[in-house]
């Protein structure tokens, strides 16, 4: 589903070159739930933005759903983002001027979908996240957890092949975070491919597989003993 080979991302200024990702390799199979972890500044978010075609990369190859994306133009990248990827952001990124219904509708409109189909998909997605009754509410009228559920509904409404989540519980309290995480697990159980960036070992422990990044490269989790132990402990404490 998502395969990066020897991928690099370099930020250049006049005097210095900074490698955000270096010889980066990852292969996420269809239906997997992968947690991408690592300390701050390790390159997690850069990986996510490249994976989501929000940014271009400097070298290497990236195949998304079998398509090599490095040579695609802006329109083609937009189309792939719209049709194949669902985004869940840490800060929810709902549009404050639009109500819940209209927020979920945004990606569907860009797909040129007919109104009746849009409405059906929106209501299905909102029901799935338990917020159908809040369709006319504005984001400011919802709790953080509810806003993130709306963002998940927005990501799901387009039936994407890949869900990319960037610290999806980072702005939520424990109880709300648990609810959102359970929702993601449920979505995964239904067959979705999820790549979640997080620095939270408890969340990482709930994913099928961990990919750990340090200094822009994928490393064995054991190379970060503290995080490794934390993930291990979280797995052991997880309810059966």
């Amino acid at each position: 589903m998502l395969k990066m080979t020897h991928l690099s991302k370099v930020y250049r200024t006049e005097v210095v070159e900074t490698y955000a990702l270096r010889d980066f390799n990852i292969n996420v199979k269809e239906g997997e739930f992968v947690a991408v972890t690592g300390p701050s500044g390790s390159g997690k978010t850069t990986f996510l933005t490249i994976a989501g075609l929000l940014e271009t990369f400097t070298g290497g190859e990236y195949h998304l759903d079998g398509v090599e994306v490095s040579n695609l133009n802006d329109n083609a990248r937009s189309k792939i983002r719209n049709e194949k990827i669902g985004f869940i952001f840490q800060a929810f990124n709902l549009i404050p001027d639009l109500n819940v219904f209209d927020n979920v509708e945004v990606p569907l409109r860009y797909r040129g979908m007919k109104a009746a189909e849009r409405k059906q998909r929106i209501m299905d997605a909102l029901e799935r996240v338990g917020l159908a009754s809040r369709a006319k509410h504005y984001p400011a009228e919802l709790s953080g957890g509810q806003q993130q559920r709306v963002a998940i509904a927005r990501a799901l409404a387009g039936s994407p092949r890949l869900l990319l989540a960037d610290e999806p519980t980072g702005n939520l309290d424990t109880q709300m975070a648990r609810g959102v995480m359970e929702l993601l697990e449920e979505i995964h159980r239904e067959g979705a491919t999820i790549v979640m960036v997080t620095h939270d070992p408890e969340l990482a422990a709930r994913a099928q597989r961990n990919v750990h990044i340090i200094d822009g490269q994928v490393v064995d989790l054991a190379e970060d003993p503290r995080f490794h132990h934390a993930v291990h402990a979280a797995r052991n404490n997880a309810p059966a």
Binding site: T45, L48, T49, G52, L53, L54, E55, D74, N75, S78, K79, R81, N82, E83, F87, F89, A91, N93, I95, P96, D97, L98, N99, D102, E105, V106, P107, R109, Y110, R111, R154, G158, D166
Partner: protein, 409 residues
């Protein structure tokens, strides 16, 4: 189309939306009426006098030491001989005034002697048998005055010419069947017979009060023997206007220095006469044009400012839209459509306001009713202005990268 979500978003930005829509409405209302006024003034500027203007100049001659009408008439006849003998002069004629001068002689015309109300007003030009040729008028019916019909007339005499030549506009007003020649009409002093009809001869005044009879002129076979002065209308030979003007003034003074020809406006080419006559109209048209341009510029600046502010404010939101699949064109279209909706709402109010302002002008200043063409032109101008003004900030918005969605500030 994204009209519904755009309207939803605009409802959350009522103040900015309302202000810019009202600015557009006010601009439209003023621009429509200003364009209408400009058109009226410009049309006024191009009204024909009926004269062969390129070769004509006028002399305002004031007498010094002339005490009787008889003396004045004698001097006028001598001056005409002097002028007509000049090499660069084709012909010359005396008159009480000339078209576009701004003042002269008007009279009411009646069809019956006992008629209480005038049938129409008319400008009266005193003329001799050279008048038609000198001015280059086109005689379309009847005949010119004969030399023996021309008589001197004191300013204190009552206006009762035995013969008259009228313009087609006056003839049509008085005798719509087209048989004016030979008919009797009545001026203040009594009856006269129409002996000829000229095509066009504009009135002396271009002001609104004279608009009703702007081309209803009467030419009478009289030399106005005024002890104050007279006007000479002179036609130069083609291409010799400047030389003829200089020679005419010089020859008149050489013949009789006891006269005043004012340096500023005593000797004017007809081009200058036209320019002076329409100075106010031209000034008004320019003023209205400047007001339109300034208002449109302010409105455009307002749209650019507000859209730029909104683009800055929604940078993250644009990034999110891009992340969710919007192309650059989608973002551009969003802002263009948003502006079109605001401009359309403003234009709708603007049309109502334009009509209201025009109705006020109609009742207050007797202006004409605003034509729908000007309202439509104003709407099109404002909508295009809005789209033009929003283009640069909208393009800036479309260049916001999708990665903006992941930035925290």
């Amino acid at each position: 189309m994204q009209i519904k979500p755009i309207l939803s978003a605009l409802r959350r930005h009522k103040a900015g939306t309302f202000l810019i829509a009202m600015q557009i409405a006010l601009t439209l209302a003023i621009v429509c009426n200003a364009l209408f006024i400009i058109h009226q003034r410009v049309s006024h500027l191009s009204e024909p006098t009926g004269l062969d203007e390129a070769d004509i100049f006028v002399i305002q001659n004031e007498w010094v030491g002339t005490s009787t009408p008889q003396q004045a008439d004698a001097k006028i006849r001598e001056d005409l001989v002097v002028l007509r003998q000049l090499a660069g002069v084709q012909d010359a004629t005396p008159s009480n005034s000339y078209p576009l001068r701004g003042g002269g002689w008007d009279d009411g015309i009646k069809l019956k002697p006992d008629q209480q109300q005038d049938t129409t007003g008319s400008t009266v030009y005193f003329a001799d048998d050279h008048f038609i040729d000198t001015l280059g008028l086109k005689l379309i019916a009847g005949r010119n005055f004969r030399a023996d019909e021309i008589a001197a007339m004191d300013v204190r005499d009552t206006l009762a010419p035995p013969q008259m030549i009228v313009t087609k506009a006056l003839a049509d007003k008085l005798f719509p069947n087209g048989d004016a020649v030979g008919k009797t009409i009545y001026m203040v002093g009594g009856p006269g017979t129409i002996v000829g009809v000229v095509d066009v001869l504009q009135a002396q005044s271009v002001d609104r009060w004279a608009a009703e009879f702007a081309h209803r002129s009467t030419i009478i076979p009289k030399r106005l023997a005024s002890t104050i002065g007279t006007f000479y209308i002179v036609r130069a030979r083609p291409g010799q206007l400047d030389a003829a003007m200089k020679a005419a003034s010089k020859a008149l003074f050489a013949h009789n220095p006891r006269r005043i020809i004012n340096e500023q406006d005593g000797l004017l080419s007809f081009t200058e006469v036209r320019s002076r006559a329409y100075e106010r109209d031209r000034g008004m048209a320019i003023l209205m044009g400047v007001i339109c341009v300034v208002l449109l510029a302010i409105t455009a600046a307002g749209i650019v400012g507000l859209t730029s502010f909104w683009v800055g404010q929604r940078r993250k939101q644009i990034g999110v839209r891009r992340a969710l699949g919007a192309t650059q064109r989608d973002i551009l279209n969003y802002f263009m459509t948003e502006n079109l909706l605001i401009s359309s709402a403003g234009a709708l109010f603007g049309v109502l306001l334009a009509v209201a302002i025009n109705l006020w002008l109609v009742t207050r200043f007797e202006m004409n009713r605003l034509s729908l063409v000007y309202v439509l032109a104003g709407v099109v101008i404002l909508l295009l202005l809005g789209q033009g003004a929003v283009l640069a900030p909208a393009m800036r918005a479309s260049r916001v990268p999708p990665v903006e969605a992941t930035r925290s500030v």
